[in-house]
Symmetry: C2
Subunit: 470 residues, 2 copies
């Protein structure tokens, strides 16, 4: 395996192939989610979905295909997506009268129905979500999980009677994403608001999580868009309010995608392979039995017994024939299984086992009767360690600059996010991009503007993060 | 609502719209799965998926789009699906060099990867599944759930070293489908083998469940296909066996689709609306509080208390303002909620509630302290009653015929399935179709051939079911 520090991008593609997370296909830019990565996605979906349902969001399913005239209805939205749309123009041997877009996102097909369903304030809020595949035929270099032409995501599409209610949803949703990312993927992010230039096509404003990859380039995570009345006016999503007056509704959309799997892999992995956070790992504990012909039966029986004893956890026994224990250790490391339990004939005699942590490599012999206590303790410690390391790396990737020279130097040396004052003008944002290649990733929440705009020197209205990004 | 008996097809489309299960869209032949039907699908998926995982099947995700040259690789398969394929020919503003099919099914894209992954007998069995959307642009009349141009399904694609192992899987899979259909959807089916003419494009043979709709037309349910080595030879899915000899693998595919929702609705519904089996119903019990201003607080508190007490079940309170209890009764009936609990001030005083069954309409006053016993008992009784009724209807829809005249008469009067001897020839199968419009739905398991072929009069080799079908 390539050294992660020396060549992140080669390491990344190699670790995905070798660990069996994904594979390339004959469709350019589209990957197979092999069972190992799909199991991670299923867990992420289950956790997010459970939280969505708890706050009253319901799942549904809208058609994959969107008639062209519907997609064109919201101009900004169409302009944003048109260059990447995959068009169905034929079915069987016949040309279609109207071309059909494969959904790059489902606003227009959903809102066309919403307009039929919503009549009265009693029909609101309407909070629907779907977990689906989407296609965006991008021409940027595709990278498995991080940028694929087809990917999987949730798309929440909610409708409220008032702007205040709609905007209040943002905290609920971003808290859910943050909870699952931090506590399952062990992935910290910077929560903030996009600039107008970088916001979602059709939104009034966009809120995002921004992450850092090991090569110190930024990458966007889950997002939340408040659409105001942009779509409701276009699609006539109207309702009679309590005073019998017709009103246009307020809308939000939000998403988390399979990209997060890639960010997680990139963040935690090392030169031996994947390092999976215990709470998202398909297998949390791997028991590797070590035996000769004489001890085989007893060792395997004890391994089975331990697996049953640890039934609160996801435990596998690697009892494959024809592989040495050493080979199995490497394989478990490559797959990033958080905790390895080694058991051999000597352990049977001593009533011990050896525990090995994937994150630190630490090995420790423990008494068998401590297993029930040590396993959860180690898994918790691994989960916490991975998050803490990632958080430290993220924090250390944020630098401050007071002027353009400092900004340029940081972007060329330490890289990462450069925190700087910004006057809020598109001209300055474009100018920084032209001069440095960096864009505004977002404007982190909770920071007060002070000092000057890094570009024009006028008083800063915002604190922005500038970064080169994926 | 239309009377179901008088005009099944109008009743069916009306009940779907009125109950909020589905809605039409601007894409011809494609529907919205509204939250109420999607919740049913989620439950069905969860039950099937749990059982798949238990027998070692793993989930994965392959690309939606399939290059044309890959789809053409297996000739019979391509011929079967080509007339219904939706083709992507453009992305953004550019024409694609190679057209991409939206998957009508995923054999070819999956097997192209399988050929790379499988090298040794140690890599087998490989048992993968995906829950996905597919598009088949059929030109038959589309009907929500029963026949839509996009639908959702599982597609299992498994690979084994020997034909024996591959064929043994059929019982596992069909048992899972039958279990979930019978015990959740309360839906009986006729398990059997398709004729060669009617088998899946590319399969060696196909096994199916066949159902009956209220109009006495047959409709196919879940299926299982044994592909032999058809695909493995075409895609070079080969492995070194234990004797170091190269062998072609044996394959199966199997599927259950969103069509089952439609069959379930059609089977159990009545002139008041849906009738949902308790085990699949998103809401199993609806509590309808009846109150005046004076009693409102107390009645609602008691309703809430009952909901908490019944937390093992999916219980909702209809506390919407501005609707009468009578309106709420009708609404709960329309939505097919299995059990209604009515509670008013008189009940508070008497420590009683009224239970009303959706399936039979039976109303019964019970003591409040019997609620914990009565609710599960009633739900079980409803589940059983729906299955028994459906089973009786299915059984009564099977008729026997010894000759063509009898076959014709039954197909024109009682309809349903006509059980008859068949010599096994394609000529006779085609002849029956020409003369009556009926095809062979399947050849039920466990029946021994006797007597003569209904068409040619030669000795029968099989017992076949002939039916007009969807």
């Amino acid at each position: 395996m390539k050294a992660k520090k020396e060549n992140f991008s080669e390491w990344y593609t190699e670790v995905l192939q070798e660990s069996g997370l994904s594979d390339y296909t004959k469709v350019s830019g589209c990957i197979v989610f092999r069972p190992y990565s799909f199991a991670i996605w299923e867990k992420l979906v289950a956790e997010v979905d459970k939280r969505f349902k708890k706050i009253g969001i319901k799942n549904c399913y809208f058609p994959l295909l969107i008639p062209k005239n519907l997609l064109e209805k919201e101009v900004e939205h169409f302009k944003g997506f048109a260059p990447e749309v995959a068009w169905v123009t034929k079915t069987g041997g016949s040309d279609l009268d109207e071309h059909l877009a494969i959904r790059p996102t489902s606003e227009v097909i959903m809102y066309d129905s919403y307009a039929k369903w919503i009549r009265s304030h009693r029909d609101l809020p309407l909070r629907l979500n779907q977990w689906v595949n989407v296609v965006r035929w991008e021409f940027k270099h595709p990278t498995p999980f991080l940028r694929t032409r087809e990917f999987l995501f949730n798309e929440g599409h909610t409708v409220f009677a008032t702007k205040k209610e709609a905007e209040a949803e943002s905290k609920q949703i971003l808290d859910i994403y943050q909870d699952v990312q931090e506590n399952y993927l062990a992935l910290p992010g910077i929560r903030g608001k996009k600039s107008d230039k970088e916001k979602f096509a059709g939104a009034e404003y966009s809120l995002t999580f921004e992450h850092i990859l090991p090569d110190k380039k930024a990458i966007q995570g889950p997002d939340f868009h408040h659409d105001g009345q942009n779509f409701s006016k276009m699609f006539k999503i109207q309702f009679l309010d309590q005073n019998e007056k017709m009103q246009f509704a307020y809308q939000n959309t939000f998403a988390i995608t399979t990209r997060q799997i890639g960010i997680m892999v990139a963040t935690h992995g090392d030169d031996k392979g994947l390092v999976l956070p215990p709470k998202i790992a398909p297998t949390q504990v791997i028991i590797i039995p070590i035996y000769d012909n004489k001890s085989k039966k007893q060792v395997l029986a004890k391994a089975k017994e331990m697996q049953e004893f640890l039934s609160d956890f996801r435990v596998e026994i690697d009892n494959r024939e024809g592989y040495t224990p050493g080979w199995k250790f490497h394989d478990a490391e490559l797959k990033g299984i958080p905790l390895r339990v080694e058991i051999g004939p000597r352990d049977l005699a001593n009533k011990t086992v050896v525990l090995a942590r994937r994150d630190t490599g630490e090995k420790k012999e423990i008494k068998l009767n401590k297993l029930g206590k040590e396993v959860p303790a180690k898994l918790d410690a691994i989960q916490k360690n991975l998050f803490d390391k990632a958080k430290k790396f993220l924090d250390e990737s944020i630098h401050e600059a007071n002027n353009m020279d400092a900004l340029k130097i940081i972007l060329n040396t330490e890289k990462g996010f450069v925190r700087a004052g910004w006057c809020g003008s598109r001209a300055c944002e474009d100018d920084v991009k032209d001069k440095t290649g960096a864009k505004i990733t977002n404007m982190p929440f909770g920071l007060k503007a002070k000092g000057k705009c890094v570009d024009c020197g006028k008083p800063a209205k915002f604190v922005a993060h500038f970064a080169k990004s994926y």
